[in-house]
Symmetry: C2
Subunit: 568 residues, 2 copies
């Protein structure tokens, strides 16, 4: 393509409110434009990258035996009601009513749609297993869209849904998908961590995120130093070390405490003891029922709300209690008791690692001490509700956590019977002629986020450095000194020859910009090979790989051979 014919050319500067590197470079390079917050146009250059990412995914998905299809964008709301997902928060479902009054959801995911399709087929075990997928627009009514393509309100997703006869068969698909995903991302130059994570709004019992490590990412996860464990902070299991369990239990007592002792810091200062010796209470409210939940944990730990929600089977349902909520409970901030309020008490596993806790019953000038879990108070249950942190030990105590941040580019979910038992008739006929629910999984890759992740990883101070497989063009051809007829003719010839050999070329044929501007644009756009034709290059061309400094003269045949070698 001739650059002069391109719609969406590079610009010198981006707006100041653009902070993420990928956002800045994709905007400046003419790949994308924002329409309104979180909704983007793919410009022709961006479209080429997007299409190449799709091609890589499609090829590997097809290789895995998955079958591409396409579901409608509008989902009948009644299907979402069937699984009760209309009442759950998570994707912030947007709904729409048509002129006949029929209600639809703008799909953020399509489990119900695919189950509805499949159940209408009345299949038998002979038709199983299968894995069907689509590339389609997804809608998420995010409160805060940000970082360009990294968090948008509308994006393209490859979403796959597998249907198996049983768990055993499913596990093979799950493993195959994980393998396929690793291959897909590797092909595009992305090293991914496979991070055990919380199924959240999607449901099911386990899942894994594919995460590209990067500080801009919103996925916080932990990898053990021995490499044997990798989990998202919302499910990361760690060992609660025993603090003083050999100590004898002393008699429980309420005792005087100076009024200035209010916070955990005050406690540590006053008692000269580590935070682990105190009780800590964090209060939440179920946003639907209004029920108050008090999470009780060891003073050195923090509560992870997602873990707590998971334990209570209240995904997305908890919010921080307000001062007014505490008032209704008959208390206030800093004075919440570890027992006795009209609330549901959930304790962290750490409560059994300490003898003779201080705290639990704070009043203005008193508190309790020598508090022992089991003897003096009991929660409704003890569970893993505390936040993991760097340096914590793995459950087996053998290795330390290293904290990482990353961009979630894909995920694989075990769904099991989560949908097929909630939705009527989501069954197949088994070998015995019995109707049995399908055992399911689902598998997503965010296309535009993958594009942003690649741009975040592959760039330098001059622009993007596209991995060859997703680059908009393979060769960025520059001509310098167009006023010289012979140079112009030579450039046109090189352009034509490369096109004839099937090489994708972006040919900067502009007459009114300087050589410097052309070089800068080539670096910004980031195609793997910069090829220059000028008076100086004679019957050769000057070739430079993006990201390298080496410049070499080659003849056209050599050039063709060089660029035909596919590399990442």
């Amino acid at each position: 393509m001739k650059y002069s014919n391109l719609f969406g050319k590079t610009i010198k500067q981006t707006k100041k409110d653009i902070t993420a590197v990928s956002h800045k470079l994709l905007h400046q390079g003419g790949f994308i434009r924002e329409n309104v917050a979180g909704r983007y146009f793919m410009l022709p250059l961006g479209m080429r990258v997007r299409q190449k990412i799709i091609n890589v995914i499609r090829e590997e998905m097809n290789n895995s035996g998955a079958l591409e299809m396409l579901a409608p964008t509008l989902h009948p709301l009644e299907l979402w009601k069937e699984t009760n997902r209309t009442n759950e928060t998570g994707f912030e479902l947007t709904t729409v009513t048509d002129r006949r009054g029929a209600e639809f959801a703008l799909g953020g995911t399509a489990e119900e749609m695919f189950v509805d399709l499949v159940r209408n087929f009345k299949l038998s075990y002979k038709d199983l297993p299968f894995n069907i997928y689509q590339f389609s627009t997804k809608f998420r009514d995010e409160l805060r869209a940000r970082y360009g393509l990294l968090r948008t309100r509308e994006f393209t997703m490859k979403d796959a849904y597998s249907f198996d006869a049983d768990e055993e068969s499913f596990k093979k698909v799950y493993a195959l998908m994980a393998e396929t995903y690793t291959k897909i991302f590797e092909k595009m130059g992305l090293k991914t961590y496979i991070v055990a994570a919380d199924n959240g709004y999607i449901g099911g019992e386990y899942c894994h995120e594919f995460v590209v490590e990067h500080e801009i990412g919103e996925s916080r996860f932990f990898v053990s130093e021995d490499g044997n464990y990798c989990a998202h902070e919302d499910i990361a299991k760690f060992k609660r070390e025993e603090i003083n369990t050999r100590e004898k239990e002393k008699p429980f007592e309420v005792f005087d405490q100076p009024q200035w002792v209010q916070t955990m810091e005050d406690n540590q200062k006053h008692y000269k003891l580590p935070a682990s010796r105190f009780l800590k209470n964090v209060v939440y409210k179920n946003r639907t029922t209004g029920e108050i939940i008090i999470a009780v944990t060891r003073g050195d730990l923090e509560v992870n709300k997602s873990k707590l929600e998971h334990v209570l089977n209240l995904v997305g349902q908890l919010e921080d209690a307000t001062e007014e909520d505490l008032h209704k409970l008959g208390t206030k901030t800093g004075y919440v008791h570890s027992w006795g309020h009209k609330a549901k008490y959930i304790g962290d596993l750490s409560l059994t690692t300490v003898k003779n806790f201080i705290g639990g019953q704070k009043e203005d000038t008193t508190d309790s001490r020598n508090v022992n879990y089991g003897r003096d108070f009991k929660c409704e249950m003890l569970a893993d509700i505390a936040l993991a942190k760097a340096g914590y030990l793995t459950e087996n105590g053998k290795s330390k956590f290293v904290e990482k941040l990353g961009i979630e580019v894909g995920n694989v979910f075990q769904l099991g019977y989560h949908y097929t038992k909630k939705m009527h008739d989501a069954t197949f006929i088994d070998k015995n002629g019995k109707e049995v629910p399908y055992y399911m999984g689902c598998y997503g890759i965010g296309i535009e986020r993958t594009m942003a992740a690649i741009a975040e990883i592959y760039n330098d101070e001059k622009g993007i450095v596209w991995p060859e497989i997703v680059s908009p063009f393979k060769v960025h051809l520059l001509v310098i000194g167009l006023e010289d007829e012979s140079v112009k003719k030579r450039a046109e010839e090189v352009y034509k020859k490369l096109l004839e050999s099937g090489v994708e070329v972006l040919y900067d044929d502009r007459e009114d910009v300087t050589a410097g501007e052309k070089f800068a644009d080539a670096d910004l756009i980031g195609c793997p090979y910069r090829v220059v034709v000028s008076k100086k290059t004679g019957d050769k061309v000057e070739v430079k790989r993006r990201g390298e400094n080496k410049v070499a003269l080659h003849n056209l045949t050599d050039l063709e051979q060089i660029v035909q070698r596919q590399m990442i």
Copy 2:
């Protein structure tokens, strides 16, 4: 692909309410499934056809120099307000409000979006012209979805938008697009009529539909016998032949008329005169303002509401007046006057072709006669508002109209300044440094409707007969007698060899169905080559082209050569 692994297999029968042939065959063959009325799943087989159609269109669009990109699905409603399209009917716009209260339209077309994108670039004449297009989901809240993929509420459209400096430059693009479309449809085996049509809701001054002739189609158009004229019924211009213009004007009079003379038929019977000698009135109401419009025409003609709306610049705004509306006007059905009511009168051009009309002032036992347009009554204007019919003459009187029905698979619209003058700052900098609005056109192709059109045209009593370029697979490989190990081995070998040669093969490897069923399914699915491996075929294979009866034995090398020859 092995048929046993296919999701979405053929079925023996479709539901009775499926009437269109394409709908029936696409359903039965396992290409599509309806989710809810007018919204379809593309199953894996259908997806392959859809992708091939897209590939053909993409290739030719790119050849034309158009650039592919992608706009968001949700359009900020304020853009549609800028052009006042929120208040017009046409696409039956569906709107949605997000959690922050922002309103969006589910796009049925994307002129405003593309203009909004382009105007933010602040381009100059040097960046022009360009033509940008996308494949994207479109939403139309159709009152009646029907005939499967022929009229849906959600579909994929290739929509292109061209931006030119002036009309002269635009006309080249318009011609190029018409040429490109013809090529696209021809490649897929579709002969299209290029039908001049009404711009309707899209706006602009002229447009052309690409129509595949077929009785199921909803586009009614006329082609002159001499082939020089082709126009949609809503704009078809025809000659109003002079009826009795040489007759002398007689004195206007109100006279007695028997009470039974009510309808046009009664008139003809009573007066023994042709319908053309009488006046006819048709009453409409502006659905927004409530204004009454009375269309007056020669008794042998009918009013075309679209033509009338076009004349009044009230596209989609007129509805038939009710008895109550007539009552308010002081009249009733059959008693409407050709003048004098509190209404806007629009006359058809035919009113000047008759002297001494009968009618125009009907009461219970009287009417008027010797009514002459201009002398006795006058409409606000005379215009082309009558419905064309088969046998009518072209405007120059030289050729007769032949009526045709067809499926509109594409369209090209001149938009001119329709959007760029309504939307602020939709300008570029011209050679003199002046800000000038873009001159636009837009160009659409309905992907799924094209698929349905192909299936309507290419089928026989046994199933679909896909043109090779859009067929889901090139070869449908059948194995008969799988219980024989050598046959099974041979079939696997043929399958593998064909795949290795890059031939797309659907391999019916089922063990539990009869040869007859396999043949029937191959005919139903409609791939161009049926290849059979059986005990009988030995080291050869039996090859039959779909739609032909000739069966021949070939060796594998010959087969590969045969199927590599691309044909339509």
